[in-house]
Amino acid sequence: MEFETVIGLEVHVELRTRTKIFCSCAVEFGAASNSRVCPVCLGSPGVLPVLNEEALKLGIRAALALSCEVRRSSKFDRKNYFYPDSPKAYQISQYDEPIGERGCVVIAGTSAPRSIGITRIHLEEDAGKLTHSPFGDASLVDLNRVGIPLIEIVSEPDLRTPDEARQYLEEIKSILQYCGVSDCRMEEGSLRCDANISLRPVGQATLGTKTELKNMNSFRNVVRGLEYEQERQRAVLMAGGAIVQQTLRFDEATGTTIVMRSKEDAHDYRYFPDPDLPRIELTQAYLDARRAEIPELPAQMRARFEQAYGLPTYDALVLTSTQRLARFFDVAASQAVDPKAVSNWLMGDVLGYLKEMGEDIDAQPMRPEQLAGLLRLIDDGTISTKIAKTVLRDMMTSGQDASAIIEQQGLVQISDEAALREIAERVIAANPKSVEDWRAGKEKALGSLVGQMMKETKGKANPQLVNRLIVDMLRD
C-alpha cells in the first residue's frame, strides 16, 4: 500500500527584546545560573506581570510577516502545570484568542511551490532549565530563561515530506530574521521545533494517528527524526499494526525516537484568562505601524532578483539566505554591469572566504560598492580575474578600494603588446620542447607557455592577449 506522510510543525521562536516579556530582567544567553532573575521570574508571592511593549510589537510583526490575520482584541491565559521549570506553576500564554491566525508561507516544495498554512501564532513566556544530576537523585533548576518572550507558530498539517518540513523551517527562520523578530539560532535554542507526523493511505481524506516528536535541535535532526519516524510508522502499518498516539523524543546519538509519554498522560492545563493582564486591544493605526516595519521579505527579494537582475532561481535562493547577504548583493548588482557576475563572485569567492574566516558578510569591511568597483576593473581589463581574486581577499581584510590595492601593489594588468611580445619571445626561446609539442598537435603545451608568461609577469599579463600573442608567434 502507498502511504502519504502528513506533517505539522510547532515552532517556538524567542523574540529579540532587551528584556523579558513580563519583567525588566535582561535577556542574555549564557549568563551565570539564576543571575538574570527577579521576584517576577521567581514567581514570588505578590508579584505581577507587566507586558513588554517590544515583545508585543515583535509578535505582531511576526504574525503580519507570516500573512496572519491579527486579532484586534486578544488576551493572555494561564496554562497550569506543575514542573520545576515553571515557577508560578502556570505559564502565561494565549489559549483561545491568539494574536495571529490563518497565515501561510510558500516553500519550494518537492516538485512545485506549495503554500503551507499557519494555524495560529501566539505570545507566551519561556520556562526555566533543568539539569539532571548524574546520580539521578536530584535536578538543578536555573530560571534565567524564565520569561524570555516567545511566539509559538503552529502550522497546518500541510507538509508532506521531511524535506518540506526543513524548507518550511528555513523559510520561517529567514522571514523572522529579515523582520528583526528573532535571531532564530537553533543551537542557542532561540528557535525550537516540535513535529506532529502521521501516515495515511494515498487518497484517504482523514488523518492517521499521529505521534509528536520533540528534542530535535537542528534542521538536520528535524529531517533525521521525521525520516526515522516516517519509516517506523510505515513499517508498523505495513505489518498491519496500529500507530499509538504518543510523544516521542528524538535521540541524536542513535538517530531513533524514544517514547516520552502516552496520550493517557495528557495534561489538563485548566486554561483560564489571566486576571493580572488586561486584554490586548489594538487600533488599526497600531497594526499599520507594525506592517510598515516589515522589510522586503525573502520571497519578494528572490522574485525581484530573478526579474530585475535575471538571476537563476538557485542564485536568488542562495543570495537571499540572509537579509545582509541579499542587501549586499542588491547594492553591488545595481552598480555592476553584469549582476550575474556579482552573484558568481558572491556565491563563490566571497562566501568561500567568509566561511574560512567564520564571519558574516557584515562583519568584514568590504562594502558592496567596492565589490562592484572590483568587477568594473576586471571588465575594463585593468586586472585579470586571477589577480582580482587576490585583490578581493585584501579588500575583505583591509576594506580598501580595489583600485588602491592594485596601485599600491603594482597589480595593474600588462596589456602593452610590445612589452608582452618581448617577454613571449624569451619564453618561446627558452622552451623549445613545448614549442615542438604544440606544433606536433599537443594543445596542452600552449598552457605551459602561457603559464611561463604569467610567471614572468607575476600574473599581471593580460591572459587573453598573452594567449593570442603566443599562438600568433608560434604560427609564424
Binding site: S44, G46, F82, R270, F272, L277
Partner: protein
C-alpha cells in the same frame, strides 16, 4: 498608650508637628500596648519592633519632629496584614507553607506609606491566604475580638481589624476579596474601606483571587480612611490592573453634607435572613441619613442571589492557580522525606496548607478542569457580568447603596464549622467585589454589646461621594467613638 488614645491621624500629626509628641513616643506606645494585650487578642503574627524604632528615630533625625509638610502619615505607626510583602520582614500569609519566608520586595501600598514616613509596627494575623471570615483559619493562632474575646474578629483581615479596635495602632492595611476588610471592620467596630478595583496597586499583595483582591485601610474613623487612601491610591507601573486616574483630594470630600444624596436600599439584601438587631441598626442608620437630607429609596439588584455561587467558583478557581507556586522549590517550607518530585509536591502542599485552603484549591481546580469549565467557571463569569449590570442600572438612580455589612454581629469561635455556613456570612459584601466597586463599613451601633456595621457602596472610582456619605453618617451617628471594653485599661 495614653498618648494615642482616641486621637485620629490628623490629631496625632498635629501633636507631632507641634512637638508635643515624637514619632518614637508613638512607636513606644504602640509597642507597649501590643506587649500588654496582644497575648489575649492575637492580632499580630510578627512585630517589627527594632525596625520600627530605627525608622522612627531616623525620621526624627531628619527634621527633629515631622514637619507638617511631611504629610499626615509621617511618624505614625501602622500594621499591615501579613499577606502584604515587606522586604526583609517575614511574610507568611498565616500559612505554614510560607513559614520563614522573607520577601525581596515590598508591596507598593506599604512602600508608599513608608515613603510618606509611616512606620510599620508589625504584620497582622489573617485567615490563611485570606481565605475565611473569622481568622480561625490562621495557620498559627486565632485572633480574638477585642469586644468579646470569646468571639471571632471576622476575617480575613481579622488581625488588622482587632489591632485597630484594640488601640494597638491608629490604622492598619488589609485586603478585601469578598469582604475581608469590611466584615472584620463591622465585627470589631471600626471603619473598613475597600477601594475600587484598580485604585490601589496590588503589587506585593500575595494573590488570593487576582480579579477581586484589593488593598484598603482599617481605621477608627472615615476621616482616617480618607487619609490612608490618599496615601496608597494611584497608578503603579508594577501592576497592570492599576488604573491611571487622577486621584482626588479625599479629605476635601468630607463636607458633612448629604442633602439631596440619593441612597439606594437593595430590596434583595433585606429579603435574606438577617439578625433582627442588625436589621434594626441599619434601619436606624437609614433614618439618620434621611434626617441629614438624603433621599432613601428602594432599588433592585436582581442577580444578588447568584453572587455567592459565582464568587465561590471564581475566587477558588483563581486561587487554585495563584497558590500553585507554593511547591517547595524556590521558597517556603518543603516536606523533606520525598523520594521523587511528585511526592515532594504532594507532601509539601498537603502539610503546608490548612483544610480551608485545600478545600478552595480543590473546588477551584474542579471548576477549571476539563469538562467542567463551561458549566462552572464560565457561567460564574457570565453571572459576574449580570451582577455588574445590576449595579450599573442601580447607580443610574442612586449615588450610594446602603446595606448591612454582615447578616449577624461577631459569632463565637467554632460556631460556623460548616464551610458553606461560613461563606454565607459574606452575602452582602461579595457582590461588591464581583463588580469591582468601592465600599465602606462604618459602625452603626451595638447589638447585645457587639458592633454592627453599615455598608455603603459607591460608583467605580467615586470614593469621594462614598466617603462623604459615610463621614456625614458617622458624624451624625457618633458610633465611631465607641471603644471595646474587653481589654480593660489597655485602651
Amino acid at each position: 498608650m495614653s498618648a494615642m488614645r482616641g486621637l485620629g491621624i490628623r490629631a496625632l500629626h498635629h501633636e507631632l508637628a507641634e512637638g508635643r509628641l515624637t514619632a518614637s513616643d508613638l512607636i513606644q506606645d504602640s509597642l507597649a500596648a501590643i506587649e500588654t494585650a496582644d497575648g489575649r487578642v492575637g492580632a499580630f503574627l510578627h512585630v517589627t519592633r527594632e525596625r520600627a524604632l530605627t525608622q522612627a528615630s531616623a525620621g526624627e533625625g531628619v527634621s527633629g519632629v515631622p514637619a507638617p509638610a511631611r504629610g499626615l502619615l509621617a511618624g505614625i505607626p501602622f500594621a499591615a496584614k501579613d499577606n502584604l510583602c515587606v522586604e526583609g520582614v517575614p511574610t507568611t500569609c498565616a500559612s505554614r507553607i510560607l513559614e520563614g519566608y522573607v520577601p525581596p520586595h515590598t508591596a507598593t501600598a506599604v512602600r508608599r506609606i513608608e515613603t510618606a514616613g509611616g512606620v510599620l509596627i508589625g504584620k497582622a494575623n489573617l485567615d490563611e491566604f485570606a481565605m475565611g471570615s473569622s481568622t480561625e483559619n490562621s495557620g498559627f493562632h486565632p485572633t480574638h475580638n477585642p469586644w468579646d474575646l470569646t468571639r471571632v474578629p471576622g476575617g480575613s483581615s481579622g488581625g488588622s481589624a482587632a489591632a485597630v479596635a484594640a488601640g494597638f495602632v491608629p490604622y492598619a492595611l488589609g485586603s478585601d476579596t469578598g469582604g475581608s476588610i469590611r466584615q472584620p471592620a463591622a465585627f470589631c467596630g471600626v471603619v473598613g474601606l475597600k477601594p475600587t478595583y484598580g485604585l490601589v496597586s496590588r503589587f506585593g499583595l500575595v494573590a488570593f483571587a487576582s480579579s477581586l483582591d484589593q488593598i484598603g485601610p482599617l481605621t477608627r474613623s472615615v476621616e482616617d480612611a480618607a487619609i490612608v487612601l490618599q496615601g496608597i491610591a494611584g497608578w503603579d507601573e508594577l501592576d497592570s490592573t492599576s488604573v491611571q486616574v487622577d486621584i482626588p483630594d479625599y479629605l476635601a470630600s468630607l463636607t458633612g453634607d448629604v442633602a439631596g444624596l440619593r441612597v439606594g436600599v437593595p430590596a434583595e439584601y433585606f429579603e435574606t435572613d438577617m439578625d433582627q438587631g442588625v436589621r434594626d441598626r441599619v434601619m436606624e442608620a437609614l433614618d439618620t441619613l434621611r434626617r441629614l437630607g438624603a433621599e432613601v429609596r428602594t432599588i433592585r439588584l436582581p442577580h444578588t442571589r447568584y453572587a455567592l455561587s459565582a464568587y465561590y467558583l471564581i475566587a477558588p478557581a483563581e486561587a487554585s492557580s495563584n497558590l500553585a507556586r507554593y511547591d517547595g522549590v524556590r521558597f517556603g517550607v518543603r516536606a523533606n522525606d520525598a523520594p521523587n518530585l511528585l511526592a515532594m509536591y504532594e507532601r509539601t502542599r498537603s502539610a503546608g496548607f490548612g483544610p480551608e485552603v485545600k478545600r478552595r484549591i480543590l473546588i477551584g481546580t474542579y471548576a477549571l478542569s476539563s469538562g467542567y469549565y463551561d458549566a462552572y467557571y464560565k457561567r460564574a463569569q457570565q453571572v459576574r457580568t449580570l451582577i455588574r449590570q445590576d449595579f450599573q442600572t442601580a447607580f443610574a438612580e442612586v449615588d450610594v447603596i446602603v446595606s448591612p455589612t454582615t447578616p449577624t454581629p461577631a459569632f463565637r469561635f467554632g460556631e460556623k464549622a460548616d464551610p458553606l455556613t461560613m461563606y454565607l456570612n459574606d452575602i452582602y459584601t461579595i457582590p461588591v467585589n464581583l463588580a469591582g466597586l468601592p465600599a465602606i463599613s462604618v459602625p452603626c451601633g451595638l447589638q447585645d454589646g457587639l458592633p454592627v456595621g453599615l455598608q455603603l457602596i459607591g460608583r467605580p472610582f467615586d470614593e469621594p461621594t462614598l466617603l462623604r456619605a459615610a463621614h456625614a453618617y458617622e458624624q451624625a451617628a457618633g458610633f465611631s467613638g465607641l471603644r471595646p471594653t474587653a481589654l480593660g485599661e489597655v485602651q
